[in-house]
Chain length 200, copies 4
DNA sequence: CGTTAATCGAGACGGTACGTCGCGTCTTCCC
DNA sequence: GGGAAGACGCGACGTACCGTCTCGATTAACG
């Protein structure tokens, strides 16, 4: 998707590329992903439809690259390691909450989530390029905590990870309850309690 | 949706209703939700398009009712209370895992999840009619456990609930890892560890 | 073309049919056949493109039916038989000249002529439905004249026919010289001279 | 068209020029003029599109030059003057019939005829460069015949000309009947009968 | 128990968007 | 500077579905 198909990349118009990605984000923010059309993107970007079809295989792929560009603009997630695991996790989980509540990210994310259900390739790409790098950063922090003795030795870090992230994702997707810092804190506390090494 | 709208329900053709719901499920299973069209449903069901539009406001509503019918056929999830909280939770979580892995449920569920992102009304309906009743059953079991002293007094049951359910949902939606009984068990064990009342 | 293909003719919207034929004629008169597009016809007629494609196989077919409707509105060509062959022929040939010079007929005719070169089916249809009936009327008049002794017995009427009509068509198509009544008269006179029965 | 436009003709690649004209003829023979595209010509000729646009103003102009090249290869039609007018005319008319029946000329001719209807400039060019020279040759032969007393004094040679040529053109364009030597002969005979000087 | 009005299958209709083709212009790199 | 290559903005193509709207032909409730 980032490097989709074949034509000569050297001749590609960077101007058009940016205009398309920007237009896609704007439109998804304005109208919701359901009403997003290739024609609207092309019109907004001042670009021929063919220029989109030349470089991206589907609307979802455009959206994906738009989202990647957005994430890059914002820089990666900083995962601090101050030694205080609970504080570190709460900080990053709160930041995640803020991001999920930010319409700038929320709407494209929902659009991509919707498209992913019908497009396994997109889903795999999303997981590989966006989700897993983040999870890997989390896991690294947990591993460091395990080395430091803050977490029981035998802990399956991958499960612990999903215990942290799953509930946030669940609330965001299903909108069952408001997604707040308090909730993030509560999740972190509960999970850490279950990870605590046996009292000596 | 479940209670659609206006015309004289008495005159409604039950034959057509079933044919439409069945056709929708078949088509979603065959082609994926993205390619599901009203026209295809009507053709497959041997029904005029107007008969669909008369009784349902949208494609998503048809899918929703199809899904409800499917769930009813299978009966609700029984939440046992044997007194052994861990065993009870593992049983029901494993059952959930099996359901999520069953293509019969998997594809329509994904279709509904996708539609929900663009249709807040559907999302609310789904939550209210399908998700929350299940969660309520879980919560009731946890409450009973708290009364029995298996869970610490101050526990926020809602958060505990989402700690259980969130990770499963996360794996299902994002397909990061296979969704297995072992994972369900691990989640239950971890969560219960964090809920345990302080040792006396 | 007049009866092109399949859908249920009973349900056909006469209103749309007329609007399409009228729009086609208007547009061909305004912009010339080269710039005539199905989209423009549909827009002008206030009609969906599919309604055109449902009933006609091609742009040329629409134009053909438009032209037929135009001809019907104007009524058939009256071929008088006053007994004076030269007068009768001059009258009808002058009328033909006027028609070829009338932009109302000229532009659609040229458009059809152009399309016919690439569409043998259209060409055959044009010949069979429009041209041959006219030629048959001419031929009948010549036959009557032959019976009356105004034309030599052995004359090949078909060749005579094309000797009359061919030069007019040639000037019209190739625009080599202005197409006037005088030219029509001259053609008639020359041809009749060649058809005259041997002097006794 | 024959003298296209501006750039430095000295630098022009003769190789490309021939390839383009040949490709145009081949394609028009294969696919019919309706499907002839500049891109196809460029691809077939192994030439950049710009090279075509640099030297010709339109697809029709390319076709026109292709046709001219074809005619030059074959050499002009010789109009004999043996003293026997009827024999001379029959010879040349039969040759014309053969040419019109030769697919090598037929298809490009039809293509040009079609284009001419929408492109008055092309039409004028065709008439001036191709048609009128031929007609002038015919007319010259008729004039010679009039001098020789084979044709009545007052005859309008131009009309006589079109009486000869019009019927052939009519049959070719409209395909009403097969275009044969017999038809050519019949036309010549009829026309000459009408041109005959008054019996003395 | 026949009348009658609503629902039904069918599908034509005015539209919107699709993904493709070709246009004529432009830009890049090569000879 | 001409030429091969081909990306670009654009406009039209012919198709797929949308949601609305007629059409008879059932069909179920009411008179």
């Amino acid at each position: 998707m980032a490097e989709p198909r074949s034509p000569q990349t050297s001749r590609r118009s960077e101007r058009s590329r940016r205009a398309i990605l920007d237009a896609a984000l704007e439109l998804v923010a304005e109208t919701g992903s359901g009403k997003l059309t290739i024609e609207a993107i092309a019109a907004r970007a001042g670009v021929g439809k063919q220029t989109i079809y030349r470089w991206w295989p589907s609307k979802a792929a455009v959206l994906f690259d738009s989202f990647l560009a957005l994430s890059e603009d914002a820089g990666g997630i900083a995962l601090p390691d101050t030694g205080d695991l609970e504080a570190d996790l709460k900080q990053v989980m709160r930041a995640k909450v803020d991001e999920l509540n930010d319409p700038r990210y929320d709407l494209p994310s929902r659009a991509l989530a919707a498209e992913s259900q019908n497009d396994p390739v997109l889903a795999a790409e999303l997981t590989a390029k966006v989700l897993e790098p983040q999870l890997a950063a989390y896991e690294e922090r947990l591993r460091s905590a395990r080395r430091a003795g803050d977490i029981a030795e035998g802990t399956d870090l991958r499960v612990a990870l999903e215990l942290l992230v799953g509930p946030l994702h669940h609330r965001w997707m299903l909108r069952t309850r408001p997604l707040t810092h308090a909730f993030a804190d509560a999740v972190v506390e509960m999970v850490l309690r279950s990870l605590a090494p046996p009292a000596r």
